[in-house]
């Protein structure tokens, strides 16, 4: 089995190529840092595994997602590299290519985005480039999969090893390289020349690895001496700059022989859209308007009509069929109760909201694919800077609207540890799709005319609370001066219909899968708790175990406007997955469909307490999966507990203020 690593600059289409080569589907988007984790797939020709890695500009990491790559190079064994190169930015892409060639493993270069390059007047002679570098160069179009067959053919059992590539860095560096090689352990698993160059360049991950193998300051002193010598004897001020300039000179020569550039000064579509999207004053209003439109579409225009149809089907025909079926086979009352009151109510109650969730995912996918994400980061940077974050932190937050787990992981692209920690802690305040069914249920019952507006206000509330807390945390417990923001703005792209549907389906199918597994199971258990009590089975629900559990919380929740055992019990179940709050309510109120549940809820809640409840659900605690991810990403139990604790406190306080304040105002 071959292990092939896929490496390239951020946003050059690595994951698109990965999907085409393996026939699987992984998350793609149009911004730098979509992939933050190593992913493995089996190549279609069954010759081996393909490993997709986060995009990097060089092998010296600045952020955590880049560290994944450096770490991969030093600690894992692999047989070859596919280096994907963005033809329209060939110069800086080749800087990475040179470092890969020095690793003495077979390399195949996939030349992507030649169409974009051509439009910009850049034509690349792949053959010449291939001769100069001594490796195959294959033109590909990663999005459509053109050229992948050629790469597939090249991935054979005996990958051609042409490890002859060496770049001469001049007498000073070459001497230091030789000196370092002598000090490296003889059985080092990674190429010694590459290791030495990386050490001289100041690659922190490689340094950490080597220090774990050999003790002693010998290498350090060579690096230092080289640095001084470079500063004294050359125009460069330090070693890494010198190395950079040697590589750059080599690339320039390479480009002169194998790339033809013509001047083309036509304004692209991107420039035109950018004029509006990052307009000095309209930028933020446009972002908010885009979001509001999303909710209009999700609720008023498309989502509600569709979910009404679904609701009619589930509570009507489907229930009738199931009842008839159970009667024919002679099921007992107990079985009928668990199926109809438990499973159909619980799972059906959540499935009803599938249309809304899919529309939301479709819109998020559109934003991701179009190239708007990086612009949103740019537009938000000034605001984020004021609260002690940077614009890049906004991207994990938008991803968090889909699901908080990938949102928290996306924080890896943030360079400074302090800002990354802040982002990890605050992303769970973004209203994820699992909370949507709860809102949909309540706005349908209490705010029928203003559904989109009310849900929009909740999302905005999440953002506002996150920014406020960012300010508080960054001026108290997470203090620090340094903050940086450099973001690559990719050209806009019209998302392709097929890719868009694919990406939407991929996000949404998890929701349906969850309905069939966990929500199913949760519904049955909740039903069982509501059906049984200290007095035995089939007890009145107010005497059930579930009521007992809910009653513990009810007095605490009373000041917030929903001090019933029903609300308490459903909130507890929400910790495992927020959709279950809706399942639990369906089961507890024991009604056949969402319409009648909404009718019943209006007896139990007022519009004000309903809003207070929604705010509480928005903020109260990240779900179990998110908590576990925070634990891993933050690498600290203390911060994990903190994230749960502060969320509970802020949810309680805000709901209290909203409910009591609203009462004072006479609502």
């Amino acid at each position: 089995m071959l292990n092939i690593a896929l490496i390239g600059n951020p946003n050059t289409g690595k994951t698109s190529l990965f999907n085409n080569l393996t026939g699987t589907y992984q998350y793609v988007g149009n911004w730098s840092g979509v992939t933050v984790e190593k992913k493995v797939g089996i190549i279609k020709n069954k010759k081996g595994n393909l490993i997709d890695l986060p995009g990097v500009y060089s092998l010296s990491p600045l952020s955590k997602d880049e560290a994944v790559v450096s770490n991969f190079f030093v600690t894992e064994s692999f047989d070859g590299i596919i280096n994907i190169v963005d033809a329209s930015q060939i110069e800086r892409n080749l800087l990475l290519t040179l470092q890969l060639l020095e690793f003495e493993k077979p390399v195949i270069i996939g030349m992507n985005m030649t169409d974009v390059a051509k439009r910009r007047g850049i034509t690349i002679n792949e053959q010449k480039l291939s001769e100069k570098l001594g490796v195959p160069v294959v033109p590909v179009i990663a999005r459509s999969g053109k050229g992948t067959a050629t790469i597939n053919d090249l991935l054979t059992d005996d990958l051609k090893v042409d490890a002859s590539f060496t770049l001469n860095y001049g007498p000073i560096i070459e001497e230091s390289i030789d000196q370092i090689i002598d000090l490296l352990p003889a059985n080092l698993s990674i190429p010694k020349r590459w290791t030495s160059i990386q050490l001289l360049e100041g690659n922190a991950e490689v340094k950490k690895y080597i220090e774990s193998l050999v003790a002693g300051a010998g290498i350090d002193s060579i690096i230092q001496a080289t640095n001084e010598q470079i500063a004294d004897e050359t125009a460069a001020t330090n070693t890494s700059k010198w190395i950079y300039s040697v590589r750059k000179a080599f690339i320039e020569e390479l480009i002169q022989t194998s790339v033809v550039t013509e001047e083309s000064e036509n304004k692209s579509l991107t420039d035109k859209i950018d004029k509006i999207a990052t307009h000095p004053f309209l930028g933020i209003p446009i972002f908010l308007a885009t979001m509001f439109l999303m909710f209009k579409l999700t609720f008023d225009w498309l989502g509600i009509p569709l979910s009404d149809i679904l609701d009619g089907f589930i509570s009507g025909s489907l229930t009738t069929w199931i009842t008839n079926g159970l009667n024919t086979v002679g099921a007992s009352d107990f079985i009928k109760a668990v199926v109809l009151d438990g499973i159909v109510a619980g799972v059906g109650g959540v499935l009803v909201f599938v249309p809304q969730i899919f529309i939301l995912f479709l819109l998020i996918s559109f934003l991701e694919d179009s190239g708007y994400m990086a612009r949103a980061a740019l537009v938000m940077d000034r605001t984020m800077e004021m609260v002690g974050l940077n614009g890049k932190a906004f991207i994990p937050m938008i991803i968090g609207f889909g699901c908080n787990v990938p949102g928290v992981m996306a924080a890896r692209t943030i360079e400074t540890p302090r800002e990354r920690m802040l982002t990890i802690l605050l992303t769970p305040l973004m209203s994820c799709s699992a909370r949507l069914p709860v809102y949909a249920l309540f706005v349908g019952a209490f705010f029928a005319k203003y559904q989109a507006l009310v849900v929009f206000s909740l999302y905005v509330l999440g953002i506002v609370v996150a920014l406020t807390l960012a300010k508080i945390f960054s001026s108290t417990i997470l203090k620090g001066e340094f903050s940086m923001f450099v973001v690559e703005l990719p050209p806009y792209r019209m998302p392709q219909g097929k890719a868009l549907l694919r990406s939407t389906w991929d996000k949404g199918k998890g929701f349906i899968k969850k309905a069939g597994t966990f929500i199913f199971g949760g519904s049955v258990l909740i039903w069982l708790l509501s059906y049984s009590g200290p007095a035995g089975f089939d007890v009145p629900m107010d005497d059930s175990f579930l009521a007992m559990i809910g009653n513990v919380l009810a007095p605490i929740l009373a000041p917030l406007g929903f001090g019933t055992w029903q609300a308490g019990a459903s909130l507890i179940t929400g910790f495992l997955a927020k959709e279950v709050v809706v399942s639990a309510m369906n089961i507890i109120y024991h009604v056949p469909n969402a319409d009648s549940l909404q009718g019943l809820l209006s007896n139990e809640f007022s519009a004000l307490s309903a809003f207070s409840f929604m705010v509480f659900v928005l903020l109260y605690v990240p779900c179990l999966a998110t908590v576990a991810t925070i634990r891993k990403e933050a690498g600290s139990a203390k911060w994990t507990w903190f994230s749960v604790g502060y969320a509970l406190v802020i949810a309680y306080v805000l709901s209290l203020v909203i409910y009591q304040g609203g009462k004072l105002l006479g609502y």
Binding site: T24, Y25, K39, F518, F520, V524, A577, A628
Partner: protein, 49 residues
């Protein structure tokens, strides 16, 4: 009668298993509704220092 027992056992068995598996997976930080498919090898320990 036999149908009732078998069907009941099936439902509760599956429900218990589904909940158990969900909690186990969640504890690893995997979320069914997110895009990180099964072939994501989360090795976060290696990057969080």
């Amino acid at each position: 009668m036999i149908f009732n027992i078998v069907f009941g056992a099936l439902i509760f068995g599956y429900a218990g298993w589904a909940v158990f598996r969900h909690i186990k997976k969640s504890k690893q930080g995997k979320c069914a509704a997110c895009s990180l498919a099964k072939n994501c090898e989360t090795k976060c320990d290696s990057v969080s220092s």
